[in-house]
C-alpha cells in the first residue's frame, strides 16, 4: 500500500470510466430515440385514420393539408402527445429526487401523499370554489393543487428531519397522508354537484385528453425551469445517496439542499397533477428504470429519469388508444398496466441492483 511508479495499467481506471460514461450517453440517446418514436406513434394513432406521411406533412407543411387534418394533428393529438412527455418527465424527476433526498426507494409524489394533496386542493376549487390564494382566482385549480402539494411536501420534509424518524417512518407518514387526503377527497365528492363530481373523478383516474397548448407550455416551462436547479446540484444530490454524514463531510449543506429540493419537487409534482389528474406509477417506476440503466450519478440519472418517465407515459398514451379501438382509456389506469410488466422485466432480467 504505497504510492508506486505508474504501472502499465495506470490509465485503465480513467479509460474504463470514459467508456462507462460513453455507454451511458449511448443509452440516453437510445431512450431519446425511443421517445421520439413513441411520440410519433402517439400522434399517428387516433379515431381518424391518418397515415404517418399525412401526419408529417401536417407538421412540416401545414399549409398544404386540410383544415381537419391540421386541427386533429396540431390542436388535438400533438398537445396530448407532448403533455404525456412533459407530465411523465416531471413526475419521474420529482420521484427521482424524492427518492434521493429521503433515501427511500418507495418515495414518489404518489406514495408520499403529494399527488393526493394536490388532487384535494384542485377538488376544493372545483367543488367548493375555495381559492387558497385569493389573489389568483382565475388560476384557482392549479394554484390550489400547488399549495396543497407544497403543504404535504413540507410536512414530509420537516418530519424527515426530526430526531428518531427513520425512512420507514416517512413512508408510514406518507401513507397516512394519502389516506387523509383521499378521505377528504371522498368527502368533497360526496358533497359535490354532478358536474363537479365528474371533474373530480377526472383527477382520480388521470387523463391526457384535456391537454391544451397552454397546459403543455406551463408544464414544460416548470420542467425546464427546475431541471437546471437539479443539474446545478448534481454532485451534491448524488452525494446524498452515500448517506447524510458522508454528504455533509463532502461539504454539502444537507438541510438546505433537502429543503430546496423538496420545494422544487412539490412544484414539479403539483402542476402536472392539477392538469391531468393523479398518475401514480410514473413517479415511482420512472426513476427506478433510470437507476437500473445508468446508475445514480445525477449527471446521467437526471436525464435518464426525464426520458424514462416521458417514455413510460408516452407509450402508455399509445396503448390507451389501441386497447379499445375508437376509445381512449384513462391514462392513470393504463400506466400501471403497461409499467408493471416492463418493471418486472427490468427487475428480474437485470443483474444490477434496483436499489
Amino acid at each position: 500500500m504505497s504510492v508506486v511508479a505508474a504501472p502499465a495499467g495506470v490509465l485503465a481506471g480513467r479509460e474504463r470510466y470514459r467508456a462507462l460514461a460513453l455507454r451511458r450517453i449511448v443509452l440516453l440517446s437510445a431512450l431519446a430515440a425511443a421517445l421520439f418514436a413513441s411520440v410519433c406513434a402517439d400522434m399517428a394513432l387516433g379515431p381518424a385514420n391518418y397515415t404517418i406521411a399525412e401526419i408529417f406533412e401536417s407538421l412540416f407543411r401545414s399549409e398544404h393539408v386540410s383544415d381537419q387534418l391540421r386541427v386533429v394533428v396540431w390542436d388535438i393529438r400533438m398537445p396530448i402527445a407532448l403533455m404525456a412527455v412533459t407530465v411523465g418527465a416531471s413526475l419521474s424527476v420529482a420521484g427521482a429526487q424524492m427518492q434521493t433526498i429521503l433515501a427511500n426507494p418507495l418515495a414518489s409524489p404518489f406514495t408520499l401523499g403529494i399527488s393526493a394533496a394536490a388532487s384535494f386542493g384542485a377538488a376544493l376549487a372545483l367543488v367548493a370554489g375555495t381559492a387558497l390564494v385569493p389573489l389568483a382566482v382565475g388560476y384557482m385549480v392549479p394554484i390550489n393543487a400547488f399549495v396543497m402539494a407544497m403543504v404535504a411536501a413540507l410536512f414530509i420534509h420537516f418530519a424527515s428531519t426530526m430526531r428518531g424518524v427513520t425512512v420507514e417512518t416517512i413512508v408510514l407518514l406518507g401513507i397516512a397522508l394519502v389516506f387523509t387526503f383521499n378521505a377528504l377527497l371522498s368527502l368533497l365528492e360526496y358533497l359535490a354537484s354532478e358536474q363537479a363530481l365528474a371533474a373530480v373523478v377526472f383527477w382520480t383516474m388521470g387523463s391526457l385528453t384535456k391537454a391544451t397548448w397552454p397546459k403543455v407550455f406551463v408544464t414544460a416551462a416548470v420542467l425546464a425551469g427546475t431541471l437546471p436547479l437539479f443539474a446545478r446540484q448534481a454532485w451534491a444530490l448524488t452525494a446524498l445517496r452515500l448517506g447524510e454524514d458522508k454528504a455533509a463531510s463532502f461539504g454539502v449543506n444537507v438541510r438546505r439542499l433537502r429543503l430546496q429540493t423538496m420545494l422544487t419537487i412539490s412544484l414539479l409534482a403539483a402542476i402536472p397533477v392539477s392538469f391531468v389528474g393523479t398518475i401514480g406509477f410514473v413517479g415511482l417506476v420512472g426513476p427506478h428504470m433510470a437507476r437500473m440503466l445508468v446508475g445514480e450519478d445525477q449527471r446521467f440519472f437526471l436525464p435518464a429519469s426525464v426520458l424514462c418517465g416521458a417514455l413510460l407515459l408516452s407509450v402508455t398514451s399509445v396503448v390507451s388508444k389501441t386497447i379499445l379501438p375508437g376509445a381512449i382509456l384513462p391514462i392513470g389506469v393504463i400506466t400501471a398496466l403497461v409499467g408493471v410488466p416492463f418493471f418486472f422485466v427490468l427487475i428480474f432480467g437485470s443483474r444490477r441492483r434496483a436499489w
Binding site: 481506471g13 470510466y17 448534481a234 452515500l242 455533509a248 446508475g295 441492483r353
Partner: protein
C-alpha cells in the same frame, strides 16, 4: 506546515451538552494524533465540531493551510449508503463536490493514484453495494484523501478491517502524513494501534478531555483505570515496542 489549535471547544445537541472544554495546541502537519475514549465519549462529536459540521462554543484555529477552499476533511464512521454507484464514481463524487459537470483527465488520474495507493484498484468498477464492510472503509479513505486535505479527521477508519489491512492503513496514513504534511486525527479503539502509530493522543470521556500529549505519556495504567475501568500496563515487547496488556476489569 498546517497546525490546528483547539480552544475551549464544545458542542451540544439541543439542550444536551455533548462536548466541552476541549483545548490543545499540538496538532501539527506530518503527525498522527489518536483520539481515544470509551463508547459515546464524544469522539465523533469532536470531529464534527472541528470540521464545522456542528456549532458550539470555543474556536478552531487553523494556521499554515494552503488549501483555502477545503483544508479540513472529516471521514465519518458510517460507510453506509446504498447508492448505485461504482467505487470509481464514488471517489470522483468526493473529488468533484462544488465543481462543474466536466471531468478532466487530471481528476481521473488523481482517482487512479489514490485507488492504487490504497491497493483497491481492482474494486474500481464494482458497485458499492457489492463491497464488504472493510472494502467500504477503504473506499471511504480514498474519498477522504482524494481532495488532498491538510487536516484529516478519521472516525474509526479501521473498525471493519482485518488485522493486515489495519496495520497497512495506519502505516500508510503515517507515511502519507509525513510526505504530504497533513495533520491526521484518528479515532481508535485499539490502543496498541495508538501506541504504535500515533505521535500524540487525546483522551475523551463523558464529553471532556481527560488527557492529551505524547502517546507514551498519555496511555498509562492510571488513565486506563480511570477512563476505561481496566487494570492494564504498557510493557515493551522483544522488539522494544510498547504493548498494552489488559489484566482485568478495575476493582
Amino acid at each position: 506546515m498546517v497546525a490546528v489549535a483547539l480552544a475551549d471547544l464544545g458542542a451540544s445537541y439541543g439542550k444536551r451538552t455533548i462536548l466541552s472544554g476541549i483545548a490543545t495546541d499540538f496538532l501539527h502537519g506530518g503527525t498522527l494524533t489518536a483520539v481515544i475514549g470509551p463508547n459515546a465519549a464524544g469522539k465523533s462529536t469532536l470531529f464534527k465540531r472541528i470540521a464545522g459540521l456542528l456549532a458550539g462554543p470555543g474556536t478552531v484555529h487553523l494556521s499554515g493551510a494552503t488549501n483555502g477552499k477545503d483544508p479540513i476533511r472529516y471521514m465519518p464512521q458510517d460507510t453506509g449508503g446504498n447508492a448505485v454507484l461504482t467505487v470509481y464514481e464514488s471517489v470522483l463524487l468526493a473529488a468533484k463536490q462544488g465543481s462543474g459537470w466536466r471531468v478532466g483527465d487530471d481528476e481521473l488520474n488523481g482517482i487512479d493514484e489514490i485507488l492504487r495507493a490504497l491497493d483497491i484498484q481492482t474494486l474500481a468498477f464494482r458497485e458499492l453495494g457489492e463491497l464488504s464492510g472493510g472494502q467500504r472503509q477503504l473506499v471511504a479513505i480514498a474519498q477522504a484523501l482524494v481532495r488532498r486535505p491538510e487536516v484529516l479527521l478519521m472516525d474509526e477508519p479501521t473498525s471493519a478491517l482485518d488485522l493486515y489491512r489495519q496495520i497497512e492503513v495506519l502505516a500508510f496514513m503515517q507515511r502519507r502524513a509525513a510526505t504530504s504534511g497533513m495533520a491526521v486525527l484518528i479515532a481508535l479503539h485499539d490502543l496498541n494501534h495508538a501506541l504504535r502509530y500515533c505521535d500524540q493522543t487525546i483522551v475523551i470521556a463523558d464529553g471532556r478531555m481527560r488527557a492529551a500529549g505524547p502517546t507514551s505519556e498519555v496511555i498509562t495504567p492510571a488513565m486506563l483505570r480511570d477512563v476505561y475501568r481496566v487494570e492494564a500496563r504498557v510493557e515493551r515487547c522483544s522488539r522494544g515496542r510498547p504493548v498494552l496488556i489488559v489484566d482485568s476489569p478495575a476493582a
